[in-house]
Symmetry: C2
Subunit: 205 residues, 2 copies
């Protein structure tokens, strides 16, 4: 599979309202991205949006506390507070997607950070389009320029630090986005927008 | 103590050469920085320089695989490969400093990333100025705009993932730097330079 199929996703909130609301994905421009290169997406430290789903209910969480832990297979460590709705969904399903937004989505990123999935269907509230993943049940966010399908492989530090170790099992990127302006959390409402790129004679991978 | 004293640091390499070379710190402009605010320095994901020292020998390592794990006391998780000279120094001393450089230091950052402390005294080779820390033996890098003195508090994931949990016990910042342009590693010689800052109605800490 090289292109994500669009998915017709009946939102839980719409169902609650007795509406047959269906959200369709935008024409997908995502292409498979090599797992060996995933570190290049996360290592600069962007704010990401973590998606989970359980019992037909999907959620989105804004997150900045993550780090690469291994190149290949790509391992990602992240802290997801046990106060977040996502925490129990991730513990139960052991699956999530890490979606990387750009500055155009900043309002939605902040909106998702301010709301809780306990009371809000964030896909609907922030008009995000769920797209079907290939290896996990959780939806991808179609508007994000990159999507990483992840499985929890190590829970050992969850009790003490809320720290999950994830393995990225499939990665997608929108290759039409040549200069994705990621956003980086500075705290208290401030975000740094990714600036220019420089090239240096680094021998680091 | 509110200002780091300058330190006269006789470099190991100079000693090897039979010279009495002494490096003096620049006039210090560092001020104490609240531990509760440390996440605001690391959460955006900058490349950092980790300093360690053991038996009179100091080292510098370039690192990007780090994440905040707790606000206060500030905990930082980081991966330091067991192929790095720093790995054993950190395991033995359980102390390091995380120094945050800006783009003006990019050449030194890359130089430190390309070299190994086994064969090179990086403070000398890259003309970095060691400054005395208050709570640890490892030197701070005077040229960096922020410095975090850290102690290893958890080794449980070192064997499996080379993952150390550090507690920041003292933080310093150069408050004269109003717009520090941190650099963020994109891999293969590419770095993103921190761009503009935007403000959004986020309720996230």
């Amino acid at each position: 599979m090289t292109v994500i199929e669009e998915v017709r996703h009946t939102l839980a909130v719409a169902a609650l309202h007795g509406e047959g609301r269906v959200t369709e994905g935008a024409e997908s421009v995502r292409r498979s991205y090599p797992l060996s290169q995933v570190y290049r997406l996360l290592e600069p430290g962007p704010v990401v949006m973590v998606t989970t789903s359980r019992k037909g209910r999907a959620n989105v969480m804004t997150m900045s506390w993550h780090t690469m832990m291994e190149f290949e297979p790509p391992l990602v460590g992240c802290v997801i507070s046990n106060r977040n709705y996502t925490f129990n969904m991730l513990r139960a399903t052991k699956e999530c997607a890490i979606n990387i937004p750009t500055v155009e989505l900043a309002d939605k990123v902040v909106g998702c950070g301010n709301a809780s999935g306990r009371t809000v269907d964030k896909f609907e509230a922030f008009r995000l389009t769920p797209a079907r993943a290939s290896r996990i049940q959780a939806p991808l966010i179609a508007e994000c320029y990159a999507n990483l399908e992840c499985k929890v492989i190590d829970n050992a530090m969850v009790t003490r630090y809320n720290f999950f170790v994830l393995q990225v099992v499939k990665a997608w990127i929108d290759r039409t986005r040549k200069h994705p302006r990621t956003i980086h959390h500075l705290g208290m409402g401030h975000f740094m927008v990714a600036g220019r790129t420089i090239r240096l004679p680094s021998r680091m991978k």
